[in-house]
Symmetry: C2
Subunit: 138 residues, 2 copies
C-alpha cells in the first residue's frame, strides 16, 4: 500500500476509547479464523507498511509482532475494514500455530475443552434446542 | 446445548469492563467472516438457548436479534470460545446479507470503498511493500 492509502485507511478506522481496534486474523486460503487481537494506530500502520501482523498487548501495554518469539509469523495478504470502521479483518498466511498454545487457531483449542458436545462441524447435529459445539474426538 | 453446558460456557467467558464480549460470525460452509458484534451475558445465553444470533447494541444500549427487522436471520450451528475466553466465534447459516447495508458481509462493503488496491483476493499481488487491498472491479 502507498503512504496515501495507509493514511486513508487509518483515517477511516474508528478506534475505541482506549485507542484500540479489534483485528480478526483469518487464514487466506482455508478461511480458518485464527485469532482476534487488538491494534493501536501504530500497530495497524506497521502492519500495513510491513505486511506483518503487528498488534498491541492490552495486558503488557506494548506492541508485539506476531511470531517474533515463536517464529509463527503472519504474512498479511489483504486488509479489510468493516462497515462502521471499528473492526479490521486481516487475511493472512500463518506460519505454524496462530495460538500461543501452539494450536493452529485460538478458537479450536478451547472450543474442544469446554464442551462435551456431540456434533461434528458441518453436520446437522445442532437439533432444535440450540447450537452444537465441537466435542472431543472420543 | 443443555442448561449445564450453557452455564459452563458462560462461566468461561471473560467479559470486558462493560460486561461485553466480541462475537465473530462466520458462515459455516463458505467460511466467510460476516460481521463482528458484541454480546452481553444475556445475549450470549439467548444465542445458546435459541440457536439464533442475539447481540447487544452498544449505541442503543439494548439487545437485538440479528434479522428481526430485515429477516436476515442467523441460525447458529457451532459456538467456539478462544484460548483466553474473551472472544466468541459463531459458525452460522446466514440468510441474505449479514450487513445492515444489505451486503453479504460487513467487511467486503467498506473494504472495497477505502482502497484503490490492485490485487484480487488470493493472488500474490501484495508485493514487498505491504499487504494488498481489495479494489473495485474497474
Amino acid at each position: 500500500m502507498s503512504p496515501d492509502q495507509i493514511d486513508d485507511l487509518l483515517a477511516r478506522v474508528r478506534m475505541n476509547a482506549d485507542g484500540l481496534v479489534p483485528a480478526i486474523a483469518q487464514q487466506w486460503d482455508t478461511r480458518e479464523v485464527l485469532m482476534m487481537a487488538w491494534m493501536d494506530a501504530s500497530a495497524l500502520r506497521e502492519t500495513l507498511e510491513t505486511g506483518r501482523g503487528v498488534y498491541f498487548s492490552r495486558s503488557r501495554g506494548e506492541r508485539w509482532v506476531k511470531g517474533e518469539t515463536s517464529g509463527n509469523v503472519q504474512s498479511v495478504r489483504e486488509v479489510r475494514l468493516d462497515c462502521d470502521g471499528d473492526t479490521v479483518l486481516l487475511l493472512v498466511d500463518q506460519t505454524g500455530g496462530a495460538c500461543h498454545t501452539g494450536d493452529r487457531t485460538c478458537f479450536d483449542a478451547v472450543g474442544e475443552q469446554w464442551s462435551s458436545g456431540t456434533a461434528d462441524p458441518g453436520t446437522s447435529g445442532a437439533g432444535s434446542s440450540g447450537p452444537s459445539t465441537r466435542g472431543p474426538a472420543s
